[in-house]
Symmetry: C2
Subunit: 326 residues, 2 copies
């Protein structure tokens, strides 16, 4: 499908002036419509390059290097992988990374002690507690210990409240929904006045994605597990952001022709052909969506790479704000 | 229209067990469908009676009387009327009311000084700054001075964030949208799984109303000034909450037969027949809505009286929480 992608890497592109990739429905020789692939991997790379340039500029101008601290508690392999990826991503753009690994049986107080130290450390501009925490800890207590000016995850209720309110601005926008909107911007998808449907209402993706779309003047509907006939609502959407974790739940027949689909789901499904025995698919049936939509994110390689890019972006913004650097 | 209202004033009714008024579409002798009138004035009266009983119970059990402090700055006649009505409502249920009137040319610091005193005053459980403030004051600065545990208006971003998040609870829900949902509850309108449309996205009504409906498992769409063809979206709604301030904007033809309409708009329109020269109408064309909807709030006498009732309810809840009284 990616053969139809036209990548316009505008030379004027900067972090504040996103390049434009204009999605168009093209046609295969067989006459079948084929959606543009929204290439999150490529956009994330572009954003990392932009961030690297800004980090360098800041270092040269004011001698400050942005820093991200990550706290990992316990031995979960997946969490260790995520933390390693975040560290590597920091290195790739010149952001300092700090890491604390604590044993599974640490106390809440011990974790909070490290958070407090990072709160007071001027070389740290973002603090991230890798979730999930061991079950004996109160997640809310631990997360609430992170100073809101360093809460680069953007999950603090004060941030969410500001995101919801007109005339207020959050300090940070949660990374995954921010990545979804950034993809729409970079692909020049108009949001204002469009009908948008968000599938899923989680605190970390669906809900903030809906608030972000509304801030950009979309008319937003939120579909969730209690929604009757979700396909009827999705069918009217110009823009769909799906974040439910149900493999291939959204079928081609649910989509309005020409819709733009941002698929946040990353769902493992059995695959005998894969050496791992499984493959990753989205919430949206990709093959079917490609025949109806004007643009679709693939899984993997769509929203996934954007999340870490937005974490780096939030860390850079935080350092700029703390040091009053434009 | 109110002739069709069946008011079931259940004797078991308490604040936690609302009475049930089941809306049904009835038919006039002419065969024309006629919606139930959702009588906000009557429900507000019922709620005030419930609150009065709870206030008395609390006073007898722990010797505490809930207190509401209102700060009025300047000489606006409408603001003075609102403050007077709030004071009267407090008296009617046995809540203590405290009032500070400051001259128009007061400084922000003077207003904040009084807020601080109320923050520290154990006989005050709710603090309300009457808006609008004089133009030389920063509204956000002043409102942010109110201690969140006494912010009975519920407009603090931390409250709004908690309202938006699953698994979190706000300390207070803003009074007008809380009143809308309370009307739905008292009239036994099922919300879970229903399609709901909120018209308007203000911080004080539309946005929190949408969040409240979503918390109750409705599938919510938010229509606003940038929405194209709002009638197409409204047409699918089982429940409509309108808060835009446009007289008679929503026509009968916009409504799904049997929909329930909560009209927050209170709009003055010229009326030569009225001694005042104007009358008040809602956002929804009432006469038309009555022929299509199953239940409608009138204007006046619908949502309006509920707002002050919910302010009293928030003040009582605050006193209960502060004194750990169930």
């Amino acid at each position: 499908m990616s053969s139809s992608l036209v990548f316009t890497d505008s030379s004027t592109s900067t972090a504040s002036q996103p390049s434009l990739f204009i999605p168009q429905t093209t046609h295969k020789s067989g006459g079948e419509a084929c959606a543009k692939v929204i290439d999150g991997k490529m956009v994330a790379k572009q954003i990392r390059d932009e961030i690297a340039a800004e980090v360098l500029k800041m270092k040269e101008a004011v001698g400050v290097v942005p820093g991200l601290a990550v706290i990992l508690v316990g031995d979960r392999k997946d969490s260790a992988t995520y933390v390693r990826n975040k560290k590597k991503a920091c290195e790739s753009v010149g952001i300092n990374s700090f890491e604390v690994r604590l044993p599974e049986d640490s106390t809440e107080q011990e974790v909070i002690k490290f958070i407090s130290e990072f709160n007071n450390d001027p070389s740290v501009h973002g603090i991230l507690v890798q979730l999930p925490l061991p079950s004996h800890m109160d997640e809310q207590n631990v997360l609430n210990a992170v100073d809101i000016v360093k809460d680069v995850d953007g999950f603090h209720p004060l941030n969410i409240g500001r995101l919801a309110m007109r005339g207020r601005d959050p300090l940070f926008v949660p990374c995954t929904p921010k990545g979804c909107i950034e993809l729409l911007h970079r692909y020049a998808v108009e949001i204002k006045g469009k009908r948008a449907v968000v599938i899923g209402r989680s605190n970390i993706v669906g809900m903030p994605a809906a608030l972000l779309l509304q801030r950009e003047d979309a008319t937003v509907s939120i579909v969730h597990s209690r929604t009757k006939n979700p396909e009827e609502i999705v069918k009217h959407a110009d823009i769909i952001i799906s974040a439910v974790g149900q493999p291939n739940m959204v079928r081609g027949s649910w989509l309005k022709p020409g819709a733009v689909v941002i698929d946040v789901g990353i769902n493992p499904v059995e695959d005998a052909k894969s050496p791992r025995g499984y493959k990753l698919v989205g919430d949206v049936c990709y093959e079917e969506a490609c025949k109806v939509a004007s643009a679709v994110t693939p899984v993997p390689g769509g929203v996934g790479p954007m999340t870490i890019a937005m974490l780096l972006s939030n860390t850079l913004s935080s350092a700029k704000r703390i040091h009053n650097f434009q």
